[in-house]
């Protein structure tokens, strides 16, 4: 019997909540590192930071796969019944785009690294294949793409977080609380 049948439809599984926050924190940290590291002067520390950034990216990619697989087996709870149609569409569209970007961002980073001539070796142990040959122009183009995808994702994350806060403070529904159970409004609208 699948685990989902044990969960009421109005709640996320603990696994889903855990994966959401794990990936959220990892994305924020990896994003910040990605902004910080390129302007550093070359040093052993810089090489380490780049490697850590890449290891984190590969790890996030794998966790996103895990999360998506879990999501197919455990459908998320429905949105509040009273939400206007356009808000439901916007929320779903944002979620789908975020999933797409959570795959596209690490993929673009991996390809960029290959094109720049640096293989990605996960945790210094597992070499990922280089799908592209070293090519400076392609590497620079992929860098632009990696940045564009990242800033798109950052923008969407802000929209996503702002919407959650708006639901919590203005609509006073349980949208935010079902991802952060300790925030549950007493007697909140379900």
């Amino acid at each position: 019997m699948p685990a989902s049948t044990f969960q009421p439809a109005s709640a996320y599984t603990r696994t889903a909540i855990g994966l959401h926050w794990l990936i959220a924190i990892a994305l924020a940290g990896t994003f910040a590192l990605g902004i910080y590291m390129p302007d550093l002067p070359l040093s052993p520390q810089k090489l380490k930071l780049y490697s850590w950034h890449k290891w984190a990216g590969v790890s996030i990619f794998l966790f996103v796969i895990l999360r998506l697989v879990w999501r197919f087996g455990h459908r998320p709870p429905a949105l509040p019944a009273g939400m206007p149609r356009w808000q439901v569409r916007l929320a779903e569209g944002t979620h789908h785009l975020l999933y797409l970007l959570m795959f596209a961002v690490p993929l673009s980073g991996w390809l960029m690294s290959s094109a720049k001539g640096f293989q990605t070796v996960w945790f210094g142990v597992l070499p990922l294949p280089d799908l592209l040959n070293k090519d400076k122009e392609l590497g620079d183009a992929l860098r632009q793409l990696h940045m564009l995808l990242n800033f798109s994702m950052a923008g969407l994350v802000l929209v996503h977080a702002a919407a959650a806060v708006k639901h919590h403070l203005i609509d006073r529904d349980d949208i935010l609380a079902r991802m952060l159970p300790f925030l549950a409004h007493s007697g909140a609208k379900k």
Partner: protein, 189 residues
């Protein structure tokens, strides 16, 4: 009698003409454009390819007398491509090659030992950044037409020459072992 003498003379001339070809030729014209010198180093366990663009060699190799072979090798260290512009700027600096002070690395072979199957062990002195160390490397010689190529690879430890000093001295980020591959071509003419 006279015709016999003529024949012998012709035979002698013919043998003299053929003599250099029957003996081995000596390969001593270094062909820079056909030669390459590349290396692989590991940073954070990631293999990164690099190469030197400018180098010269004086080679004199007679396959019939390999132990008499001579080889000298000079590398313009500033001609390095270490995989990225950042890396190229970095390795020219004092901590690495200090190319202003020590622009050239030099290898002088002192002995050549046949190992069989066209393989030889070449031993000599390598000087980089004011430090000289003994170095030996296997070399495979293959002849084609009037040219011969000398191929080999060896592992050089950067710490032996203080390449990558100071903050880089720790091998945790950039490994000590540098894998070097050379392909040198010399012709007989």
């Amino acid at each position: 009698m006279k015709s016999n003498l003529t024949l012998s003379c012709l035979a002698l001339i013919a043998s003299l003409l053929h003599a250099p070809a029957a003996q081995a030729v000596e390969f001593k014209q270094f062909q820079a454009a056909k030669s390459s010198l590349s290396f692989v180093y590991k940073q954070m366990n990631v293999p990164v390819d690099g190469q030197f663009k400018n180098f010269r060699a004086r080679i004199a190799f007679d396959p019939a007398k390999p132990t008499a072979a001579k080889a000298e090798f000079e590398i313009d260290l500033a001609s390095i491509d270490a995989g990225s512009k950042d890396a190229n700027d970095e390795v020219a600096g004092k901590a690495w090659f200090d190319t202003k002070q020590f622009p050239v690395a030099k290898f002088v072979a002192s002995s050549v030992k046949p190992l069989g199957n066209n393989r030889y062990e070449v031993a000599g002195k390598m000087s980089i950044k004011g430090k000289t160390q003994d170095l030996a490397t296997p070399v495979t010689v293959s002849q084609q037409g009037d040219g011969a190529s000398f191929d080999g690879s060896l592992v050089l430890k950067r710490a032996d020459y203080a390449i990558g000093d100071g903050v880089w001295a720790d091998f945790g980020t950039v490994a000590n072992e540098i894998q070097i591959k050379f392909h040198l071509v010399a012709t007989s003419k």
